[in-house]
């Protein structure tokens, strides 16, 4: 503490140096006055007394200098002089300075950008009080059997699923007061906004929701316990955004009502600005309503529909909660056999939220870290060469009595100036890169909106600058200061450091080659996995198809026949748009959600067996719109209506997996005991409903017109067009509004766009790695060029001699290139080994290829060595142009 205070006092002295010096002069003048007065009292004349006083004092200047030394001012002066000198010498060599500063700027730039991202996404705490006590709770079910060998989803650990409210009650009861759990699920509701019908996103929350997150409303209240009962739940808490949009921020809205899906709800509270909803990772949340679960949900062990977060009581550990909960799933499974294999997982909320993105960000941190090291190695290489040319200067200084420390300080100052310039330029580059990253980042990267290029980034950059200074400067500085003046001054200034210089540059080059190889292997792995992914056949044709979602009002479309009538009318209206070739509707279209259901399948012998399959209710136009191949039997026809025989069409996987390859046509099934029996009339080709990374599952298509077969509301329209499907999107909306103008039309997207969106993250990762590998490769090229060019310049005489003795250009070139060959080969070998070890960090980002995929490694080696060879050739060409006559003269 006192040491700290003393340090602060000394630093203050340095800052207030002018005043401190003035005071010292005052003090000394006072001293001299008193001394002189003393002499006067002893009878000296005033002039003599004054002279005698100065003599006794012993030199004012020496005293002042000694005090300055003592206070550390001298060091400051020295450093200031060194900085001035370093700047002057850097200005004298603009090419070197520019190259070094740009190289460092690149390294620092990508590092600050990625740091800013990582800090916002992984490090910065969640925006709730005591965020470390917030946990996420999930249920797990056994993984499905392998559907596609080699696909990442097959087998593996138990799959995380949402939580069943019925089970959550048991978890809360068992955990007691160790923790409080809250559940929510996202819901969509229609509202007529100022600009027409709008689809709002809200959360249906349990009573503890706001307490668990720890944020009270800005005005009004949240929900009372008695409002979580069906019939008494017509209340709503508005988000700040919705309050501003819909009500212009009017403080008098409390107590008034808002129409959601045609039903009024009383506004009881408004959340503060900036409140982040629990499900905000999936987009903005406009409102909150109480979760008044109907009895069947409250009793349904298999109704996995809510997400759960909890707040640990103070002092309670995660492990304690885990222990309490460990036996609950077993108890549930005993009561409900269908829950066999159920598990429960609790984790820290923040870690849980970023578990999908953490591997990518960690891999990126490695990548940019390696780039910074490469950049430093390159600048160190440049400095070593520079040190070589300055050997004489240093030797002269040492000979004139400068201490080793003094020379070291001067050289370190120069690298510090370089590092500072590089960091400043890197910060500019980094803030630009951060903005570009945020703009290019795929959706689903959590908390991107909180990415700011602020104080923490600056602090990080300061650390980088310090590290860079050390990495870049100390090696050449230490080397130069060790110079023996006599040997350098005796020789012509060349040769003494030559061998050492060559060795150092070779090591640096090997390092650069190794690092760029590591990054390139990562980039190639990612690119290949992207190519593998793009080659996966979806089973349907996604091109030239536009899809839109129409969310029907709950109040007006309670009746399934009305829903069907609406969509049939909408289909007819859309079909009239010029350029529309086929139209289909259904409750879920490919790439836009899924629905899985159990069913009872009647075997060949008539006995029923339980089976699980994906279900879709679709209109007859579905086959043509998505271009599914019909393999057997017939497709759903216009005549398959409610009163006709109940029919269905299945896919090939259905026959393969559920019927052991037997012909499904003619087989019968029913979804639940309450559903009618339906007969399978046809078989269509398999599709990857969820996109290229998902597997193929048994699938049942039922006619949308046979509403008794399915409970899920119809919602999606798909349109195949002759030309660009985007061109008709406005007309599609108008056509739908011509049937019912009060319905919001959302998620209007082509299937290609949806696919691209799903792949955006992968593509983003691949591009990042490619760019980083490119940067590293550029650095390696500069390094290789430098080594060969240096060798040529040092050995001009030798080359000339060899040429005079008859060596051809090819031999000379070969001899020069060998200077770089050994370090490149060593670097490549080291890079291969390092890549093999580091590739595990990107393993989770890969699709369809192993992290140790040999062709990828081979390709990366070929590129790196090829590029290095080209750089070497470019530099080595100069050797063949040496004129023997001029050299030997």
């Amino acid at each position: 503490m006192t040491a700290l205070r003393r340090l602060a006092a000394r630093l203050r002295e340095l800052v207030t140096r002018g005043r401190v010096e003035r005071e010292l002069h005052d003090e000394i003048r006072h001293h001299l006055d008193l001394l002189a007065e003393d002499y006067v009292r002893r009878g000296w004349s005033p002039e003599d007394a004054r002279r005698e006083a100065r003599r006794a004092f012993g030199g004012v200047d020496q005293a002042v200098e000694a005090v300055r030394d003592r206070r550390g001012f001298r060091l400051v002066d020295t450093v200031r002089r060194d900085v001035r000198e370093a700047v002057r010498s850097l200005v004298r060599t603009p090419a070197f300075t520019l190259a070094a500063v740009l190289t460092l700027a690149m390294g620092v730039g990508v590092n600050t950008a990625i740091f800013t991202l990582v800090d916002a996404v992984l490090v910065r705490p969640l925006p709730y009080p005591a965020p470390d006590r917030l946990v996420a709770l999930w249920e797990t079910l056994p993984a499905r059997e392998a559907v596609q060998p080699g696909a990442p989803e097959s087998g593996g650990p138990p799959a995380r699923v949402a939580v069943a409210p019925a089970n959550l009650a048991d978890y809360q009861a068992r955990v007691g007061d160790l923790a409080t759990f809250a559940a929510w699920s996202q819901v969509g509701r229609n509202v007529i906004g100022p600009g027409g019908p709008e689809r709002l996103t809200g959360e249906e929350v349990t009573a503890a929701y706001f307490d668990v997150l720890g944020i009270p409303p800005a005005t009004g209240r949240t929900f009372r316990a008695d409002e979580f009962v069906p019939g008494r739940d017509a209340v709503i808490v508005l988000g700040y955004g919705l309050w501003q949009r819909q009500f212009g921020g009017d403080a008098g809205v409390l107590g008034r009502s808002i129409e959601l899906d045609g039903g009024p709800r009383e506004i009881v509270g408004i959340m503060p600005r900036g409140f982040v909803a629990a499900s905000a990772l999936d987009g903005d949340v406009d409102f909150w309503i109480p979760a008044a679960y109907p009895p069947d949900i409250l009793a349904g062990r298999g109704e996995h529909i809510v997400e759960v977060a909890g707040r640990l009581a103070p002092g309670v550990t995660l492990d304690a909660v885990r222990q309490r909960l460990a036996t609950v799933p077993g108890d549930i499974a005993r009561e409900d056999p269908r829950s066999a294999g159920l598990g429960v997982a609790v984790d820290v909320l923040q870690a849980d939220q970023v578990r999908a993105t953490a591997p990518l960000l960690v891999a990126l941190l490695w990548a940019v870290g390696l780039i910074l090291v490469t950049a430093c190695a390159n600048v160190a290489g440049l400095l070593v060469v520079r040190a070589g040319t300055r050997t004489r200067e240093v030797a002269v200084r040492v000979a004139l009595g400068a201490s080793r420390g003094r020379v070291l300080l001067a050289l370190a100052t120069e690298s510090a100036v370089l590092a500072t310039l590089g960091t400043a330029a890197g910060l500019a580059l980094g803030s630009w890169t951060t903005a570009a990253l945020v703009a290019a980042a795929p959706p689903g990267l959590p908390r991107l909106d909180s990415v700011t290029f602020g104080g923490r980034t600056l602090a990080f950059a300061a650390v980088l600058a310090a590290v860079t200074t050390i990495l870049v400067g100390l090696l050449p500085a230490w080397r130069s200061s060790g110079t023996h003046p006599s040997s350098v001054l005796r020789s012509s200034g060349r040769g003494v450091t030559g061998a050492w210089l060559r060795r150092t540059r070779s090591v640096l080059l090997a390092g650069e080659i190794a690092l760029s190889l590591v990054l390139l292997v990562g980039a190639v792995l990612m690119a290949r996995s992207l190519a593998t992914l793009n080659a996966v056949d979806l089973g349907f044709d996604p091109h030239q198809v536009l899809a839109a979602r129409v969310s029907l009002d709950r109040a007006r479309y309670e009746d399934a026949d009305r829903r069907l009538a609406f969509f049939e009318a909408a289909e007819a209206a859309v079909r009239r748009i010029p350029g529309v070739r086929d139209v289909a509707f259904g409750n879920r279209l490919p790439l836009r959600g899924n629905w899985t259901s159990g069913m009872e399948l009647r075997g060949a012998d008539g006995a029923g067996v339980q089976a699980i399959a994906g279900f879709q209710a679709v209109s007859p136009g579905y086959l043509a719109t998505f271009r599914l191949p019909l393999r057997r039997g017939r497709w759903i026809a216009d005549g398959d209506r409610a009163r006709a025989a109940q029919v269905a069409v299945v896919n090939e996987a259905f026959a393969r997996e559920l019927l052991d390859g037997a012909d499904p046509v003619g087989r019968q099934f029913r979804r639940t005991d309450a559903s009618p029996w339906a007969t399978i009339v046809g078989v269509v080709g398999d599709v990857r409903r969820g996109g290229r990374t998902t597997g193929i599952e048994p699938q049942v298509y039922v006619p949308a017109a046979q509403t008794a077969q399915y409970p899920l509301w119809l919602s999606d329209v798909g349109i195949r067009t002759d030309g660009d499907p985007r061109a008709v999107s406005a007309q599609v909306r108008d056509a739908i509004w011509s049937v019912d103008p009060r319905l919001p039309v959302t998620l209007v997207r082509t299937l290609d766009e949806t696919l691209a969106l799903g792949q955006a993250e992968r593509e983003f990762q691949t591009w990042l790695f490619l760019v980083f590998a490119g940067l590293a490769l550029a650095l390696a090229v500069v390094g290789t060029y430098g080594v060969v060019a240096y060798a040529v310049s040092q050995k001009t005489a030798e080359i000339g001699l060899r040429m005079a003795l008859g060596a051809g250009a090819a031999r000379v070139l070969g001899w020069v290139l060998r200077q770089a060959a050994a370090p490149v080969a060593t670097g490549a070998a080291a890079g291969l080994v390092a890549a093999w070890f580091l590739s595990r960090f990107v393993a989770s980002l890969l699709f369809g290829i192993e992290a140790t995929d040999a062709p990828s490694y081979g390709a990366a080696v070929a590129v790196v060595t090829g590029v290095a060879a080209a750089a070497g050739l470019l530099a080595g060409r100069r050797a063949t142009r040496v004129d023997p006559a001029s050299v030997l003269k």
């Binding site: 003090e27 006072h30 001293h31 006055d33 006794a56 005293a63 005090v67 003592r70 001298r74």
Partner: protein
Amino acid sequence: MSPRDDRTDVLQGTLALMVLKTLDTLGPLHGYGIARRLEQVSGDAIRLNQGTIYPALVRLEQQGWIRAKWGASEHNRRAKFYALTAAGRRQLDAETERWSRVSDVVGRILDPGDAS
């Protein structure tokens, strides 16, 4: 970065001890007062350049053993007064103890007869 000289270090250490002792005996003093006292007490056995006490004072201040404060001198002139701190007093005690032990040992070596 200034070159080290062992002799100045010894002298500095001795000077520091004497300054501390002076301030302990006489209370707060300005630089001239300290210098004059050192000359008087030593009976001119120590003839120091009075200027050299200033770097010594800065060092003692940096160590936290003395504290400097501007005040008015006896002739009502602005002067910087130095006073012993608690840490300085502890240091003085420790140094005095060490000094007397060393001089005792040195004395016994130089005059063995006294030791028998």
